[in-house]
């Protein structure tokens, strides 16, 4: 997936200012930054939901799966009905087989007949992700996927996502949790006020902190990251 000089304006405010980056098959890219940095806007443009005012986005490797921050599910339908609906809409040859596969993947086989509204936020998010995976995407975009999940659910989620990346799926996710980004993001894309400040592995970001804000270099990753942003005027 490739984004080149992407600009997005909402009225007079520039939400993204010429953001460029590339992600290859199997990459696990964490998009991080403070509130209003443009993370969700970037992901929605990569997903094709919003159109950029300038610049280009391309995915040469097929389908892009998108998992929105808030679960995009029909709460009055059951787990199975939700999956079946989206499998049918995706045009799967055997939608029921796809549903079984996703139920297995999410570990919700036993709860297939339950109305989604009665499930916990974590389980709803698992179905949300499963629906994003139904298109068997080459690129999976996750907008703050771990919000509202407890540590155990979060751990299972990242296990699941990492397994996808190992199988060659490009995973791009946004998060506010810097530790999570460090742990699961093979690469970090740091956005602030619509600008891409950094693009590289977590170790390189720590090196950048050491150069620009040495007093925070040996602190925890989140403190180092905040010092970096501060040094860059954000």
């Amino acid at each position: 997936m490739r984004a080149e000089n992407v600009v997005k304006r909402f009225g007079s405010r520039e939400a993204l200012r010429g953001v460029s980056f590339e992600a290859a098959a199997g990459d696990q890219v964490a998009v991080i930054g403070p509130n209003g940095a443009g993370k969700t806007t970037l992901l929605s443009i990569l997903a094709g939901i919003s159109k950029p005012d300038e610049g280009e986005v391309s995915s040469t490797n097929g389908e892009v799966g998108w998992v929105p921050q808030q679960a995009a599910l029909y709460r009055r339908l059951t787990v199975e009905e939700n999956l079946l609906l989206f499998a049918r809409l995706e045009g799967h040859g055997d939608p029921r087989a796809s549903v079984e596969e996703m139920l297995e993947l999410t570990g919700l086989r036993d709860r297939r007949g339950e109305i989604v509204a009665r499930l916990s936020g974590g389980n709803q998010q698992r179905i949300n992700i499963a629906i994003g995976l139904l298109s068997r995407p080459a690129v999976l975009l996750l907008d703050e996927p771990s919000v509202g999940l407890d540590p155990r659910q979060r751990s299972r989620l990242w296990e699941f996502v990492s397994a996808l990346a190992e199988r060659g799926t490009t995973v791009i996710f946004s998060t506010h949790d810097i530790q999570e980004a460090e742990r699961y993001g093979g690469r970090l894309l740091v956005l602030a006020d619509g600008e891409a400040l950094f693009d590289g592995p977590p170790d390189e970001l720590r090196e950048a902190v050491r150069r620009e804000a040495p007093e925070a270099a040996d602190r925890d990753f989140e403190t180092a990251f905040v010092a970096y942003l501060h040094h860059r005027g954000h």
């Binding site: 969700t40 995009a72 809409l89």
Partner: protein
Amino acid sequence: MGGVRWLLLKDLQILRRSPLQAGLLVVYPILIAVLVGFAISRGPEKPRVAFLNEVPAGTRITVGGAQLPSANVKGRICGRVECIFVADRAEAEDKVKSGDALAALILPANLVNKINSLSTLTPGVPEVEVLVNEENAVKAELVDDRITSLLAQANLAVARRIGSEGGRYLNLIVNGGEFKALGGSFHILGLRTSAKILEAVTPALPKGLQPSLKEVTNFAAQARDNLDVAKPLIARLAQPIKVDKVVVGGESPPLEIFAIAVAATFTLAFVVVLLVAGSLALEREENAFPRLTRGLVSTVGLLGEKVLLGMAVGLVVTLLMLLGMQFFVPLELGRIGLWLLAILFSGAALGAAGAALGAAAREVRAVSLLAFMLTLPIAFLSLVPSGAVSPVVFDAIRYLTALFPFKPALQALTAAIDETGPGIGGPLLHLTVLFFAYAAIARLALRRFAAV
């Protein structure tokens, strides 16, 4: 198209899962429709009036010493109002005070005597008494109008009867015949026969007398001819001005047919607008809209699916309602094809309007409120007849209601149900134009408001 099918199935599953909401969606508009239909079909044409007739039984109006047959004033009055027969004045007063009756009409015992005195040298003034409760200005005016109209009808009935009797006497004078009075029967020769007798005997008379007799014969002929002319004049006296009603526009269907069409349109409008607007807003409330429209279903496909959903549910509910009405008012079932046509065209236009509303809102509750706030006043404005408000206001209402599918839907359903009514083509064309206009607005609104 496949996607639309699965979305339709999904919406029906959601409806099935929400029996209370689905029930309310159907029951509430039907309730409103039945109330409106009932209010329209009842109308104010038969107000309850307490009726006290103190005129002794068998008393008749007399003309020239002969009693006229009964003019059936009681029957005429009670045919136009719902009479509550009371025993005395106090009861009549109670009925009016309590609001049980809109007014009380008392025919005093001396009413016929007073009418009979009109043909004497000392005429009285026949009076009837009307008791009203003027607690409300509108009610007071209604009572005044109604009682004035009823008395005019009663006066007319009496005058016609007198005129008719007068005409009969004139006929007797002109043509002769039997006259029954005071228990006996008298033969009246009549002017026509008198003239013939005189003409027959004239040649037998001395020549000197013949000119004088000729004058008498001529007078009899002239009197006969002039009295013949006077007969229709007397008849016209009862009703000098005749109403010649010519319908120049707005052919109106029978009241019960119109009431059924109003009830059916209310049901269809509420079911379709609320369902389409609500289900479209639900896609956004559940955050599913962006997921669906990024390649799974086109915006047009999604809008089409919602309109189809509204049309399908609206068709079932409205058709059941019309078939239910069949038990109360016989409808021409042979026109069911036209019913379907009217319901489907109306459903499409109302659905597109609902989609335009739903596209502009993010929450089901907000859009439901918006749909009610818009549909209810538009529906009521669509029922305002010309002449009920000033011409300027009526023109404004006409243009406003033409922008919303309720009125053309009502016209289409009325035309479909009423076999004597105007054609259905005009309303269907109007609905088609509105369908495309609202579909375009809905598409624009989705693009404008649904963007992430």
